[in-house]
Amino acid sequence: MTTPDVLQLEGVSRHFGGVPAVDNVSMTVRAGAITGLIGPNGAGKTTVVNLVMGLLHLSEGRVLLSGRDVSRLEAADLARSGVARTFQNVRLVPNDTVLDNVLSGFHRHQTAGMFANVFGLPSARAEAKRHMAEARVLLERFQMTQFAGHRASALSYGHQRRIEMMRALAMKPQLLLLDEPVAGMNDTEAASLGTIFKEIAAEGVAVLLIEHNMRFVSSICSYLYVLSSGRLISEGLPGAVLKDQKVVEAYLGAA
Protein backbone atom coordinates (compact mmCIF):
# COMPACT_ATOMS: atom_id res chain seq x y z
CA MET A 1 0.00 0.00 0.00
CA THR A 2 1.45 3.33 -0.98
CA THR A 3 0.85 6.05 1.54
CA PRO A 4 0.48 9.56 0.25
CA ASP A 5 2.89 10.59 3.00
CA VAL A 6 6.07 9.55 1.27
CA LEU A 7 8.63 11.29 3.47
CA GLN A 8 8.17 12.05 7.14
CA LEU A 9 10.68 13.69 9.44
CA GLU A 10 9.75 13.26 13.09
CA GLY A 11 11.62 15.44 15.58
CA VAL A 12 14.83 15.22 13.58
CA SER A 13 17.88 16.86 15.11
CA ARG A 14 21.55 16.93 14.31
CA HIS A 15 24.19 18.42 16.58
CA PHE A 16 27.75 19.21 15.66
CA GLY A 17 29.68 19.27 18.91
CA GLY A 18 26.88 20.79 20.95
CA VAL A 19 25.73 23.19 18.26
CA PRO A 20 22.38 22.14 16.79
CA ALA A 21 22.48 22.53 13.00
CA VAL A 22 19.01 21.05 12.78
CA ASP A 23 16.75 21.19 15.83
CA ASN A 24 13.57 19.16 16.25
CA VAL A 25 12.34 19.38 12.68
CA SER A 26 9.16 17.58 11.70
CA MET A 27 7.98 17.60 8.11
CA THR A 28 5.79 15.65 5.73
CA VAL A 29 6.25 15.42 1.99
CA ARG A 30 3.25 14.03 0.15
CA ALA A 31 3.04 12.23 -3.15
CA GLY A 32 1.68 14.16 -6.08
CA ALA A 33 2.68 17.57 -4.70
CA ILE A 34 5.67 19.85 -4.51
CA THR A 35 6.67 20.68 -0.96
CA GLY A 36 9.09 23.53 -0.45
CA LEU A 37 11.82 23.92 2.17
CA ILE A 38 13.06 27.47 2.35
CA GLY A 39 15.12 29.57 4.71
CA PRO A 40 17.98 32.03 4.79
CA ASN A 41 21.56 30.91 4.24
CA GLY A 42 22.92 28.79 7.03
CA ALA A 43 19.42 27.82 8.17
CA GLY A 44 20.27 24.14 7.98
CA LYS A 45 18.56 23.19 4.71
CA THR A 46 21.62 21.37 3.40
CA THR A 47 21.95 19.50 6.69
CA VAL A 48 18.34 18.33 6.37
CA VAL A 49 19.07 17.13 2.86
CA ASN A 50 22.15 15.25 4.02
CA LEU A 51 20.24 13.65 6.89
CA VAL A 52 17.51 12.45 4.56
CA MET A 53 19.99 11.28 1.92
CA GLY A 54 21.94 9.11 4.32
CA LEU A 55 25.11 11.19 4.46
CA LEU A 56 24.74 12.18 8.10
CA HIS A 57 23.71 10.37 11.26
CA LEU A 58 20.64 11.64 13.05
CA SER A 59 21.28 12.90 16.57
CA GLU A 60 17.59 12.57 17.39
CA GLY A 61 14.32 11.67 15.72
CA ARG A 62 13.38 9.49 12.79
CA VAL A 63 13.04 9.64 9.05
CA LEU A 64 10.26 7.55 7.50
CA LEU A 65 9.97 6.64 3.85
CA SER A 66 6.44 5.48 2.99
CA GLY A 67 6.02 4.46 6.61
CA ARG A 68 9.33 2.62 6.84
CA ASP A 69 12.02 3.83 9.25
CA VAL A 70 15.07 4.65 7.14
CA SER A 71 16.95 6.69 9.73
CA ARG A 72 19.93 4.39 9.68
CA LEU A 73 19.88 3.36 6.04
CA GLU A 74 23.06 4.02 4.08
CA ALA A 75 22.94 6.38 1.12
CA ALA A 76 23.06 3.79 -1.64
CA ASP A 77 20.29 1.77 -0.03
CA LEU A 78 18.16 4.89 0.36
CA ALA A 79 18.58 5.55 -3.33
CA ARG A 80 17.59 1.99 -4.06
CA SER A 81 14.47 2.52 -1.98
CA GLY A 82 13.41 5.21 -4.40
CA VAL A 83 14.98 8.44 -3.23
CA ALA A 84 16.50 10.50 -6.02
CA ARG A 85 18.18 13.86 -5.80
CA THR A 86 19.68 16.57 -7.85
CA PHE A 87 22.75 18.42 -6.65
CA GLN A 88 23.24 22.08 -5.92
CA ASN A 89 26.29 22.17 -8.16
CA VAL A 90 25.28 19.99 -11.06
CA ARG A 91 27.13 16.70 -10.70
CA LEU A 92 27.26 14.79 -13.90
CA VAL A 93 30.02 12.66 -15.35
CA PRO A 94 31.47 15.49 -17.42
CA ASN A 95 33.26 13.45 -20.05
CA ASP A 96 30.39 11.04 -20.66
CA THR A 97 27.66 11.60 -23.23
CA VAL A 98 24.22 12.86 -22.30
CA LEU A 99 22.85 9.41 -23.02
CA ASP A 100 25.38 7.68 -20.78
CA ASN A 101 24.65 10.09 -17.97
CA VAL A 102 20.94 9.43 -18.23
CA LEU A 103 21.50 5.66 -18.48
CA SER A 104 23.36 5.72 -15.19
CA GLY A 105 20.04 6.37 -13.50
CA PHE A 106 18.79 2.92 -14.38
CA HIS A 107 21.13 1.04 -12.07
CA ARG A 108 18.51 0.95 -9.39
CA HIS A 109 16.31 -1.20 -11.58
CA GLN A 110 18.71 -3.99 -12.41
CA THR A 111 16.90 -7.28 -12.54
CA ALA A 112 19.36 -9.34 -14.56
CA GLY A 113 21.75 -11.03 -12.16
CA MET A 114 25.46 -10.40 -11.67
CA PHE A 115 26.41 -13.49 -13.62
CA ALA A 116 24.34 -12.38 -16.60
CA ASN A 117 25.94 -8.95 -16.51
CA VAL A 118 29.48 -10.21 -16.21
CA PHE A 119 29.17 -12.54 -19.16
CA GLY A 120 26.77 -10.56 -21.31
CA LEU A 121 24.02 -13.15 -21.28
CA PRO A 122 20.74 -12.51 -23.14
CA SER A 123 18.88 -11.35 -20.04
CA ALA A 124 21.45 -8.61 -19.48
CA ARG A 125 21.40 -7.60 -23.12
CA ALA A 126 17.62 -7.41 -23.19
CA GLU A 127 17.62 -5.28 -20.09
CA ALA A 128 20.23 -2.94 -21.52
CA LYS A 129 18.08 -2.53 -24.60
CA ARG A 130 15.01 -1.75 -22.49
CA HIS A 131 16.88 0.88 -20.53
CA MET A 132 18.22 2.42 -23.71
CA ALA A 133 14.68 2.71 -25.08
CA GLU A 134 13.43 4.28 -21.85
CA ALA A 135 16.37 6.68 -21.84
CA ARG A 136 15.48 7.82 -25.34
CA VAL A 137 11.90 8.42 -24.23
CA LEU A 138 13.23 10.67 -21.48
CA LEU A 139 15.44 12.54 -23.92
CA GLU A 140 12.45 13.06 -26.17
CA ARG A 141 10.36 14.35 -23.29
CA PHE A 142 13.03 16.90 -22.33
CA GLN A 143 13.66 17.82 -25.98
CA MET A 144 17.28 16.76 -25.84
CA THR A 145 17.23 13.96 -28.40
CA GLN A 146 19.68 15.74 -30.68
CA PHE A 147 22.15 16.02 -27.83
CA ALA A 148 22.19 12.31 -27.04
CA GLY A 149 25.77 11.77 -28.17
CA HIS A 150 27.16 15.08 -26.95
CA ARG A 151 29.62 15.32 -24.10
CA ALA A 152 27.79 16.53 -21.02
CA SER A 153 30.37 19.16 -20.09
CA ALA A 154 30.06 20.78 -23.53
CA LEU A 155 26.44 21.76 -22.96
CA SER A 156 24.92 24.82 -21.33
CA TYR A 157 24.07 25.01 -17.65
CA GLY A 158 20.37 24.80 -18.40
CA HIS A 159 20.88 21.68 -20.46
CA GLN A 160 23.02 20.12 -17.76
CA ARG A 161 20.24 20.67 -15.25
CA ARG A 162 17.90 18.83 -17.58
CA ILE A 163 20.34 15.93 -17.83
CA GLU A 164 20.40 15.69 -14.05
CA MET A 165 16.60 15.67 -14.03
CA MET A 166 16.45 12.92 -16.61
CA ARG A 167 18.94 10.87 -14.65
CA ALA A 168 16.89 11.31 -11.50
CA LEU A 169 13.67 10.37 -13.29
CA ALA A 170 15.32 7.30 -14.78
CA MET A 171 15.42 6.03 -11.22
CA LYS A 172 11.60 6.16 -11.13
CA PRO A 173 11.78 7.54 -7.61
CA GLN A 174 8.99 7.84 -5.12
CA LEU A 175 10.73 10.87 -3.60
CA LEU A 176 12.60 13.49 -5.59
CA LEU A 177 14.81 15.92 -3.72
CA LEU A 178 15.63 19.05 -5.68
CA ASP A 179 18.55 20.97 -4.20
CA GLU A 180 18.35 24.58 -5.46
CA PRO A 181 17.54 23.47 -9.01
CA VAL A 182 16.99 26.91 -10.52
CA ALA A 183 19.86 28.76 -8.89
CA GLY A 184 21.46 31.07 -11.40
CA MET A 185 18.66 30.81 -13.95
CA ASN A 186 16.57 33.60 -15.39
CA ASP A 187 12.79 33.60 -14.95
CA THR A 188 12.00 31.99 -18.30
CA GLU A 189 14.36 29.08 -17.78
CA ALA A 190 13.15 28.64 -14.22
CA ALA A 191 9.54 28.68 -15.34
CA SER A 192 10.05 25.98 -17.96
CA LEU A 193 11.84 23.80 -15.41
CA GLY A 194 9.02 24.51 -12.97
CA THR A 195 6.51 23.17 -15.47
CA ILE A 196 8.48 19.95 -15.66
CA PHE A 197 8.51 19.68 -11.86
CA LYS A 198 4.74 20.06 -11.78
CA GLU A 199 4.38 17.33 -14.41
CA ILE A 200 6.58 15.01 -12.35
CA ALA A 201 4.57 15.67 -9.22
CA ALA A 202 1.36 15.08 -11.15
CA GLU A 203 2.65 11.63 -12.04
CA GLY A 204 2.61 10.74 -8.35
CA VAL A 205 6.16 11.50 -7.26
CA ALA A 206 6.67 13.28 -3.94
CA VAL A 207 8.82 16.32 -4.63
CA LEU A 208 10.80 18.19 -1.99
CA LEU A 209 12.14 21.45 -3.30
CA ILE A 210 14.89 23.35 -1.53
CA GLU A 211 15.16 26.81 -2.97
CA HIS A 212 15.95 30.46 -2.38
CA ASN A 213 14.00 31.95 -5.25
CA MET A 214 10.80 33.08 -3.53
CA ARG A 215 8.81 33.81 -6.64
CA PHE A 216 9.60 30.41 -8.04
CA VAL A 217 8.77 28.68 -4.79
CA SER A 218 5.41 30.39 -4.39
CA SER A 219 4.50 29.60 -8.00
CA ILE A 220 4.88 25.84 -7.81
CA CYS A 221 4.84 24.69 -4.18
CA SER A 222 1.61 23.57 -2.59
CA TYR A 223 3.07 23.62 0.92
CA LEU A 224 6.03 25.34 2.50
CA TYR A 225 8.30 24.77 5.45
CA VAL A 226 10.53 27.59 6.63
CA LEU A 227 13.78 26.83 8.41
CA SER A 228 15.81 29.36 10.35
CA SER A 229 18.84 28.61 12.52
CA GLY A 230 17.97 24.94 12.38
CA ARG A 231 14.38 25.29 13.56
CA LEU A 232 11.07 25.35 11.75
CA ILE A 233 9.65 28.81 12.22
CA SER A 234 6.67 28.54 9.93
CA GLU A 235 4.78 26.16 7.67
CA GLY A 236 1.68 26.23 5.53
CA LEU A 237 0.35 27.46 2.21
CA PRO A 238 2.80 29.69 0.31
CA GLY A 239 0.54 32.74 0.35
CA ALA A 240 0.21 32.72 4.11
CA VAL A 241 3.75 31.69 4.94
CA LEU A 242 5.41 34.35 2.86
CA LYS A 243 3.37 37.05 4.63
CA ASP A 244 4.24 35.58 8.06
CA GLN A 245 6.07 38.19 10.12
CA LYS A 246 8.50 35.67 11.54
CA VAL A 247 9.53 34.59 8.04
CA VAL A 248 10.04 38.14 6.86
CA GLU A 249 12.17 38.89 9.91
CA ALA A 250 14.26 35.78 9.45
CA TYR A 251 15.11 36.77 5.91
CA LEU A 252 15.63 40.43 6.67
CA GLY A 253 17.60 39.62 9.77
CA ALA A 254 19.91 37.38 7.82
CA ALA A 255 20.41 39.94 5.06
Binding site: G54, L55, L56, H57, E74, A75
Partner: protein, 297 residues
Protein backbone atom coordinates in the same frame (compact mmCIF):
# COMPACT_ATOMS: atom_id res chain seq x y z
CA UNK B 1 70.91 -8.51 26.25
CA UNK B 2 67.30 -7.50 26.42
CA UNK B 3 67.63 -3.95 27.67
CA UNK B 4 70.32 -3.27 25.07
CA UNK B 5 67.93 -4.43 22.36
CA UNK B 6 65.19 -2.30 23.85
CA UNK B 7 67.49 0.69 23.71
CA UNK B 8 68.45 -0.07 20.14
CA UNK B 9 64.77 -0.29 19.38
CA UNK B 10 64.20 3.15 20.82
CA UNK B 11 67.02 4.56 18.71
CA UNK B 12 65.75 2.99 15.50
CA UNK B 13 62.24 4.00 16.43
CA UNK B 14 63.35 7.59 16.85
CA UNK B 15 64.68 7.64 13.32
CA UNK B 16 61.48 6.14 11.99
CA UNK B 17 59.54 8.72 13.94
CA UNK B 18 61.68 11.53 12.54
CA UNK B 19 61.12 10.32 9.01
CA UNK B 20 57.45 9.66 9.59
CA UNK B 21 56.86 13.08 11.15
CA UNK B 22 57.71 14.78 7.90
CA UNK B 23 55.65 12.28 6.02
CA UNK B 24 52.62 12.62 8.25
CA UNK B 25 52.83 16.41 8.12
CA UNK B 26 52.76 16.23 4.35
CA UNK B 27 49.91 13.77 4.35
CA UNK B 28 47.94 15.74 6.88
CA UNK B 29 48.10 18.88 4.76
CA UNK B 30 47.93 17.51 1.26
CA UNK B 31 46.23 14.16 1.71
CA UNK B 32 48.67 12.62 -0.70
CA UNK B 33 51.07 9.80 -0.35
CA UNK B 34 54.38 11.23 -1.44
CA UNK B 35 56.12 8.22 -2.96
CA UNK B 36 59.22 10.32 -3.55
CA UNK B 37 59.77 10.99 0.13
CA UNK B 38 62.31 8.21 0.49
CA UNK B 39 64.42 9.93 -2.14
CA UNK B 40 64.13 13.22 -0.31
CA UNK B 41 65.57 11.47 2.75
CA UNK B 42 68.31 9.96 0.62
CA UNK B 43 69.23 13.25 -1.02
CA UNK B 44 69.42 14.87 2.42
CA UNK B 45 71.96 12.21 3.35
CA UNK B 46 73.83 12.85 0.12
CA UNK B 47 73.87 16.58 0.80
CA UNK B 48 75.21 16.02 4.30
CA UNK B 49 77.83 13.62 3.01
CA UNK B 50 79.08 15.98 0.31
CA UNK B 51 79.14 18.80 2.83
CA UNK B 52 81.66 16.77 4.81
CA UNK B 53 83.66 15.14 2.04
CA UNK B 54 83.72 17.97 -0.51
CA UNK B 55 83.28 21.11 1.58
CA UNK B 56 85.04 19.77 4.66
CA UNK B 57 82.31 21.02 6.98
CA UNK B 58 81.90 19.85 10.55
CA UNK B 59 79.07 17.58 11.63
CA UNK B 60 76.67 20.29 12.71
CA UNK B 61 76.89 22.13 9.44
CA UNK B 62 76.59 18.87 7.55
CA UNK B 63 73.37 18.22 9.42
CA UNK B 64 72.10 21.62 8.39
CA UNK B 65 73.23 20.97 4.82
CA UNK B 66 71.25 17.76 4.93
CA UNK B 67 68.18 19.60 6.11
CA UNK B 68 68.58 22.21 3.42
CA UNK B 69 69.18 19.57 0.80
CA UNK B 70 66.13 17.62 1.87
CA UNK B 71 64.00 20.73 1.99
CA UNK B 72 65.04 21.88 -1.46
CA UNK B 73 64.58 18.49 -3.11
CA UNK B 74 61.21 18.23 -1.42
CA UNK B 75 60.15 21.58 -2.84
CA UNK B 76 61.36 20.53 -6.27
CA UNK B 77 59.20 17.43 -6.07
CA UNK B 78 56.23 19.59 -5.15
CA UNK B 79 56.92 21.97 -8.01
CA UNK B 80 57.18 19.31 -10.66
CA UNK B 81 54.99 16.47 -9.46
CA UNK B 82 52.26 17.91 -7.27
CA UNK B 83 51.65 21.54 -8.11
CA UNK B 84 50.51 20.96 -11.70
CA UNK B 85 48.01 18.44 -10.37
CA UNK B 86 46.69 20.76 -7.69
CA UNK B 87 46.18 23.39 -10.33
CA UNK B 88 44.13 20.94 -12.35
CA UNK B 89 42.27 19.68 -9.31
CA UNK B 90 43.30 16.15 -10.13
CA UNK B 91 42.19 13.28 -7.86
CA UNK B 92 44.44 11.93 -5.11
CA UNK B 93 45.42 8.94 -7.18
CA UNK B 94 47.19 11.14 -9.71
CA UNK B 95 49.47 12.52 -7.03
CA UNK B 96 50.60 9.07 -6.04
CA UNK B 97 51.39 8.11 -9.62
CA UNK B 98 53.14 11.39 -10.28
CA UNK B 99 55.32 11.01 -7.20
CA UNK B 100 56.23 7.47 -8.26
CA UNK B 101 57.52 9.00 -11.47
CA UNK B 102 59.41 11.70 -9.62
CA UNK B 103 60.89 9.08 -7.32
CA UNK B 104 62.21 7.08 -10.25
CA UNK B 105 63.95 10.14 -11.62
CA UNK B 106 65.43 11.13 -8.26
CA UNK B 107 66.69 7.59 -7.70
CA UNK B 108 68.35 7.36 -11.09
CA UNK B 109 70.06 10.71 -10.78
CA UNK B 110 71.38 9.68 -7.39
CA UNK B 111 72.54 6.38 -8.81
CA UNK B 112 74.43 8.15 -11.57
CA UNK B 113 75.93 10.76 -9.28
CA UNK B 114 77.10 8.19 -6.77
CA UNK B 115 78.06 5.58 -9.36
CA UNK B 116 75.94 3.05 -7.49
CA UNK B 117 78.55 3.06 -4.76
CA UNK B 118 77.90 2.76 -1.10
CA UNK B 119 79.49 5.85 0.38
CA UNK B 120 80.50 6.47 3.93
CA UNK B 121 80.93 9.41 6.19
CA UNK B 122 84.58 9.93 7.06
CA UNK B 123 85.56 8.32 10.33
CA UNK B 124 86.07 11.51 12.23
CA UNK B 125 82.78 13.14 11.29
CA UNK B 126 81.25 12.44 14.64
CA UNK B 127 83.21 11.62 17.75
CA UNK B 128 82.66 8.11 18.97
CA UNK B 129 81.78 8.65 22.57
CA UNK B 130 80.38 5.74 24.47
CA UNK B 131 78.68 5.77 27.82
CA UNK B 132 78.31 2.74 29.98
CA UNK B 133 75.16 3.24 31.93
CA UNK B 134 73.31 0.56 33.83
CA UNK B 135 75.21 -2.02 31.87
CA UNK B 136 74.02 -0.49 28.60
CA UNK B 137 76.36 0.60 25.86
CA UNK B 138 75.13 3.97 24.71
CA UNK B 139 76.74 6.02 21.96
CA UNK B 140 76.55 9.79 21.98
CA UNK B 141 75.27 9.66 18.44
CA UNK B 142 72.37 7.49 19.51
CA UNK B 143 71.47 9.98 22.21
CA UNK B 144 71.59 12.75 19.65
CA UNK B 145 69.20 10.80 17.47
CA UNK B 146 66.69 10.26 20.24
CA UNK B 147 67.07 13.86 21.28
CA UNK B 148 66.56 15.13 17.75
CA UNK B 149 63.39 13.13 17.32
CA UNK B 150 61.95 14.41 20.58
CA UNK B 151 63.04 17.94 19.76
CA UNK B 152 61.39 17.74 16.36
CA UNK B 153 58.11 16.64 17.88
CA UNK B 154 58.19 19.54 20.30
CA UNK B 155 59.18 22.00 17.59
CA UNK B 156 56.52 20.72 15.24
CA UNK B 157 53.74 20.76 17.78
CA UNK B 158 54.62 24.29 18.94
CA UNK B 159 54.92 25.42 15.37
CA UNK B 160 51.55 24.02 14.44
CA UNK B 161 49.65 25.18 17.49
CA UNK B 162 51.37 28.36 18.60
CA UNK B 163 52.47 30.22 15.53
CA UNK B 164 50.81 32.04 12.67
CA UNK B 165 52.42 29.72 10.20
CA UNK B 166 51.04 26.76 12.08
CA UNK B 167 47.55 28.22 11.98
CA UNK B 168 47.81 28.74 8.28
CA UNK B 169 49.07 25.21 7.81
CA UNK B 170 46.21 23.75 9.79
CA UNK B 171 43.77 25.90 7.89
CA UNK B 172 45.02 24.68 4.53
CA UNK B 173 45.02 21.12 5.86
CA UNK B 174 41.38 21.46 6.79
CA UNK B 175 40.30 23.03 3.53
CA UNK B 176 42.43 24.60 0.85
CA UNK B 177 39.48 26.29 -0.79
CA UNK B 178 38.25 27.95 2.39
CA UNK B 179 41.77 29.03 3.28
CA UNK B 180 42.15 30.81 -0.03
CA UNK B 181 38.88 32.63 0.60
CA UNK B 182 40.30 33.73 3.94
CA UNK B 183 43.21 35.27 2.12
CA UNK B 184 45.77 32.61 2.91
CA UNK B 185 48.37 32.06 0.23
CA UNK B 186 47.93 28.33 0.00
CA UNK B 187 50.70 27.86 -2.57
CA UNK B 188 53.15 29.42 -0.15
CA UNK B 189 51.88 27.30 2.70
CA UNK B 190 52.24 24.18 0.58
CA UNK B 191 55.79 25.10 -0.31
CA UNK B 192 56.57 25.74 3.35
CA UNK B 193 55.14 22.40 4.41
CA UNK B 194 57.08 20.59 1.71
CA UNK B 195 60.26 22.33 2.80
CA UNK B 196 59.66 21.60 6.45
CA UNK B 197 58.94 17.92 5.93
CA UNK B 198 61.87 17.62 3.56
CA UNK B 199 64.18 19.21 6.09
CA UNK B 200 63.12 16.71 8.73
CA UNK B 201 63.67 13.85 6.33
CA UNK B 202 67.06 15.28 5.41
CA UNK B 203 68.10 15.42 9.03
CA UNK B 204 66.98 11.82 9.46
CA UNK B 205 69.01 10.91 6.39
CA UNK B 206 72.24 12.37 7.74
CA UNK B 207 71.77 10.76 11.14
CA UNK B 208 71.02 7.38 9.66
CA UNK B 209 73.87 7.65 7.20
CA UNK B 210 76.19 8.22 10.13
CA UNK B 211 74.73 5.54 12.34
CA UNK B 212 74.78 2.76 9.80
CA UNK B 213 77.88 4.06 8.14
CA UNK B 214 76.38 3.84 4.69
CA UNK B 215 74.90 6.30 2.23
CA UNK B 216 73.59 4.94 -1.02
CA UNK B 217 70.93 5.79 -3.53
CA UNK B 218 68.46 3.12 -2.40
CA UNK B 219 68.68 3.88 1.29
CA UNK B 220 65.36 5.69 1.38
CA UNK B 221 63.08 3.02 -0.04
CA UNK B 222 62.83 0.73 3.00
CA UNK B 223 62.24 3.79 5.15
CA UNK B 224 59.30 4.79 3.02
CA UNK B 225 57.61 1.46 3.65
CA UNK B 226 58.36 1.79 7.36
CA UNK B 227 56.89 5.28 7.23
CA UNK B 228 53.63 3.85 5.91
CA UNK B 229 53.57 1.44 8.80
CA UNK B 230 54.29 4.23 11.25
CA UNK B 231 51.69 6.68 10.07
CA UNK B 232 49.00 4.09 9.69
CA UNK B 233 49.67 2.52 13.04
CA UNK B 234 49.91 5.94 14.62
CA UNK B 235 46.84 7.27 12.89
CA UNK B 236 46.96 9.57 9.93
CA UNK B 237 47.98 13.13 10.53
CA UNK B 238 48.55 12.48 14.20
CA UNK B 239 51.91 13.76 15.37
CA UNK B 240 52.01 12.09 18.76
CA UNK B 241 50.77 9.00 16.96
CA UNK B 242 53.72 9.14 14.58
CA UNK B 243 56.15 9.35 17.47
CA UNK B 244 54.54 6.56 19.42
CA UNK B 245 54.12 4.31 16.43
CA UNK B 246 57.66 5.01 15.30
CA UNK B 247 59.00 3.90 18.66
CA UNK B 248 56.77 0.85 18.72
CA UNK B 249 57.81 -0.28 15.29
CA UNK B 250 61.42 0.45 16.08
CA UNK B 251 61.14 -1.81 19.10
CA UNK B 252 59.46 -4.58 17.14
CA UNK B 253 62.12 -4.32 14.48
CA UNK B 254 65.00 -4.37 16.93
CA UNK B 255 63.59 -7.42 18.64
CA UNK B 256 62.97 -9.29 15.41
CA UNK B 257 66.38 -8.33 14.14
CA UNK B 258 68.15 -9.53 17.24
CA UNK B 259 66.19 -12.64 17.97
CA UNK B 260 64.99 -13.85 14.58
CA UNK B 261 66.61 -12.34 11.51
CA UNK B 262 66.80 -9.08 9.59
CA UNK B 263 64.55 -10.42 6.87
CA UNK B 264 61.97 -11.37 9.46
CA UNK B 265 62.13 -7.84 10.86
CA UNK B 266 60.97 -6.34 7.59
CA UNK B 267 58.45 -9.02 6.80
CA UNK B 268 56.92 -8.69 10.25
CA UNK B 269 56.58 -4.92 9.91
CA UNK B 270 54.87 -5.15 6.54
CA UNK B 271 52.67 -8.01 7.60
CA UNK B 272 51.62 -6.04 10.67
CA UNK B 273 50.97 -3.02 8.46
CA UNK B 274 48.87 -5.08 6.11
CA UNK B 275 46.83 -6.61 8.90
CA UNK B 276 46.34 -3.29 10.66
CA UNK B 277 44.99 -1.71 7.52
CA UNK B 278 42.54 -4.51 7.06
CA UNK B 279 41.47 -4.86 10.65
CA UNK B 280 41.88 -1.50 12.35
CA UNK B 281 42.79 1.09 9.74
CA UNK B 282 42.40 4.03 12.07
CA UNK B 283 45.46 2.98 14.01
CA UNK B 284 46.05 4.32 17.49
CA UNK B 285 44.87 7.89 17.12
CA UNK B 286 43.32 8.27 13.73
CA UNK B 287 39.76 9.13 12.80
CA UNK B 288 37.61 6.74 10.83
CA UNK B 289 36.30 9.45 8.56
CA UNK B 290 39.65 9.89 6.92
CA UNK B 291 39.97 6.28 6.06
CA UNK B 292 36.67 4.67 5.23
CA UNK B 293 34.57 5.33 2.21
CA UNK B 294 31.33 7.27 1.75
CA UNK B 295 29.04 6.46 4.65
CA UNK B 296 26.94 8.21 7.28
CA UNK B 297 29.06 10.52 9.38
Amino acid sequence: MLTQQLFNGVVIGSVYALFALGFTLLFGVNHILNMAFGSVFMWGAFAGLYAVTVLDLPFWLALIAGMLGGGIVSCLVDLVAFMPLRRRQAPDFSGIVSSIGANLILLMIAQKVSNTQIMRFPFDTFPIVIFQVFGLRIQLLQLIIIGTALLMVVVLVSLLYRTGLGRRIRSVAFSEGTSKLLGINSSLVNAQVFFLSGAMAGAAGVLIGLTFNSVHYLMGEPFLMQAFAVIILGGLGSIPGALLAGLLIGLVQAMSFAYISSAAADAITFAVLFLIILVRPTGLFGKASTILRVQRR
